[in-house]
């Protein structure tokens, strides 16, 4: 299995990189064209917008998902009643295919059909909630739906982490007179480092692969204001039948990830060797 996985991931990465230098169309072919695909890529405004969107969405999504996920997990950890019900409610968006829930969000955020329209009909004329129709705000509309879908799972993950904390630590901090929130922040959170790293990677890979949400919610619109890299890759690979272009975009994404991962791996392993 280990070998399989290595073969698949290393192999696929190599495959991706190689064909990004070719003129592959519907099928991979080996016509080498150098950096042509990349030149075209960076000359494409849709790609540039996609990158910008990814950065904005990524940073907000990462921060908010982590924070909200953790806060909810902490709440769930307070020996509340109906914990199981609450947990399931927060998790259900994760269970439902986004094709349709995206549509529902699209309705809700639609200025005429959704909240804004309804509120205005009820007499609140100044009510505004039309992010989905604003080119500069649409990314935040995505964020609302993205958080809705993703925070539940992160909450569960963090809850699992919290459940692993030894009760004795809590006792110690209570005796030390540490307020609960500080205990969570300064004692428990660092103890959950593993879970946090896991969460960051999961959220991070979700961000890099962000696709369904955009397709279901905005289809990249208005205009191309909410395009994202993964959508660019898929659209060119499968709809536009230009594998070379899709893979060039994909290679750029991998490169970015690599730039983030390598220092992290160095810290995680290089630093870990000492102890």
């Amino acid at each position: 299995m280990v070998v399989t996985v290595l073969v698949v991931f290393v192999g696929c990465t190599a495959w991706t990189i190689w064909y990004s230098f070719t003129a592959s169309r519907l099928l991979p072919n080996n016509t080498f064209v150098g950096l042509e695909q990349y030149q075209r890529l960076f000359a494409t405004s849709r790609w540039n917008i996609s990158i910008r969107n990814l950065l904005i969405y990524g940073s907000f999504s990462l921060v908010f998902t982590m924070v909200i996920g953790f806060l909810l997990a902490v709440l769930m950890d307070q020996k509340i009643r109906f914990e199981s019900a609450f947990r399931t409610i927060m998790l259900y968006p994760f269970a439902l295919s986004f094709i349709v829930t995206g549509l529902v969000w699209q309705w809700i955020m639609n200025p005429t059909l959704g909240l804004q329209g309804t509120m205005r009909n009820l007499g609140w004329e100044s009510f505004r909630f039309d992010w989905i129709a604003q080119s500069d705000m649409v990314i935040y509309a995505l964020l609302i739906a993205g958080l809705w879908q993703g925070t539940g799972f992160v909450m569960i993950l963090m809850l699992a982490g919290l459940r692993g904390i030894d009760e004795e630590i809590w006792k110690a901090s209570r005796v030390d007179g540490i307020p609960t929130w500080k205990t969570y922040l300064f004692v428990v959170l660092p103890m959950m480092r593993g879970v946090m790293v896991t969460a960051v990677v999961i959220i991070g890979s979700g961000i890099v692969r962000l696709y369904d949400l955009v397709v279901a919610l905005t289809k990249g619109g208005p205009g191309i204001a909410s395009e994202v890299p993964a959508k660019y890759v898929y659209d060119y690979m499968f709809t536009a039948g230009n594998i070379g272009q899709g893979l060039a975009a994909s290679t750029m994404m991998l490169l970015t990830v690599m730039i983030i991962i390598i220092p992290w791996a160095y810290l995680e392993f290089g630093g870990g060797k000492k102890s």
Partner: protein, 391 residues
């Protein structure tokens, strides 16, 4: 034998039409049609169909985007050569328009059969909306444009639009309607960038520019079906969309001529641009039951047969590929189309350009519609350079 057929016609109307093929196929040949419907062409069906063909587990027949890149599959020897069948049934004799066969032809051989003709070139107008402002329903694009201020004043949306891909078809329609036949041929067929930079195309671009002033993301609805609802309700006055919108209008209870009007070619051109859906027949792996190959042949024959063409297209609301069919049962809009079809079909971009080029053009249009800071000149220039680099 059993023959698996993949396609992405999954909505009620679509399924009903493909069912006609299946019915006739099964009735006439005694083979079994195994239906593999996969909704959503781009990310749903396309990768699956291609993977299966590449993966060596091809289906017996499949719908594919009629575009240039199927050539690669053909070149790779993955598609069955249908030339013999075409000759046998005399396809070229009754075929409605040679241009439509072009994408199916590779090095003089035929590898796919178009099964219908679709056209984007329709302007749909709401009777209710025009009643509201007390004006007659426009009969062409120019009248329609003139009515916008009055519509806006009455709080009616001049142009309804669904989010996403529905806008993609509009430039082509404007090009055929406003720019005229020569422009379409110059750009789509000859890939002449100078034509793009010429005055005719500028008019098209200006029309689009004009259009974007009445389009706002605020008022977009999720799908083109919702636009149909807006038209029937009189909330929106008009829309440019392909002939398949009719299906929606009819399901919602709309009657052509009463609840809505359909104007082909924007009322300005007497030729429609269009393309079609085609069926491909992958080469089946060695050792396949000859029965199945036989079934493939039978199916290829049947889908272009008179009976099947009639049954299919009546249900589907598209135009048949044969000229020798009695379409007396067709509704008002379809009849209009068939009349225009006699003048020959203009090649749409989808049929003549690669989907790569189309995708880039679509991106450009979307960006232009949304972003007012892109001027008409920018649009023309970028359009031209895309056409230039098209292959």
């Amino acid at each position: 034998a059993e023959l698996e057929v993949t396609h992405w016609w999954t909505s009620a109307g679509e399924a009903a039409s493909i069912a006609e093929f299946a019915r006739i196929f099964e009735e006439e040949t005694g083979h079994t049609w195994v239906d593999s419907a996969l909704g959503g062409s781009g990310t749903g069906a396309n990768p699956v169909i291609l993977s299966r063909i590449i993966g060596g587990d091809p289906m017996g027949a499949t719908q594919l985007n009629t575009g240039r890149e199927a050539e690669e599959l053909i070149a790779a020897g993955l598609m069955r050569d249908l030339t013999d069948i075409a000759d046998e049934v005399g396809l070229r004799e009754f075929f409605v328009d040679e241009t439509l066969l072009e994408p199916c032809t590779y090095e003089g051989r035929i590898y796919c059969f178009p099964i219908n003709i679709h056209s984007w070139d329709w302007l749909w107008l709401s009777t209710a909306a025009y009643e509201e402002i007390g004006q007659p329903v426009p009969t062409n694009w120019n009248e329609y444009v003139e009515s916008w201020p009055a519509l806006e004043e009455a709080g009616i949306l001049p142009f309804g639009l669904g989010t996403g891909w529905p806008i993609d078809g509009v430039p082509g329609v404007l090009m055929a309607g406003i720019g005229g036949t020569d422009l379409v041929l110059a750009i789509n067929r000859d890939k002449n960038a100078d034509a793009v930079r010429g005055p005719e195309f500028r008019e098209v671009a200006e029309a689009l520019d004009n259009l974007r002033s009445v389009i706002s993301a605020d008022t977009m609805v999720p799908t083109f079906g919702d636009v149909g609802n807006q038209l029937l309700a009189g909330e929106a006055a008009g829309n440019i969309h392909g002939d398949w919108l009719q299906g929606d209008l009819q399901i919602a209870g709309g009657v052509p001529g009463e609840d809505y009007e359909c104007i082909p070619g924007l009322g300005l051109n007497d030729q429609l641009s269009g393309g079609g859906d085609s069926f491909y027949f992958p080469v089946l792996p060695e050792g396949t039951d000859p029965e199945v190959i036989e079934a493939q042949t039978e199916l290829a024959r049947i889908i272009v047969s008179q009976e099947a063409q009639l049954a299919f297209n009546l249900k589907k609301g598209s135009m048949p590929i044969r000229t020798d069919i009695d379409l007396s049962q067709a509704n008002a809009c379809m009849t209009k189309a068939i009349e225009l079809l006699d003048n020959g079909l203009l090649p749409s971009g989808e049929a003549t350009l690669t989907s790569d080029t189309m995708a880039q053009l679509n991106d450009l249009t979307k960006e232009f519609i949304d972003n007012d800071s892109i001027t008409v000149d920018d649009y023309i220039e970028r359009y031209a350079s895309l056409i230039e680099s098209a292959d």
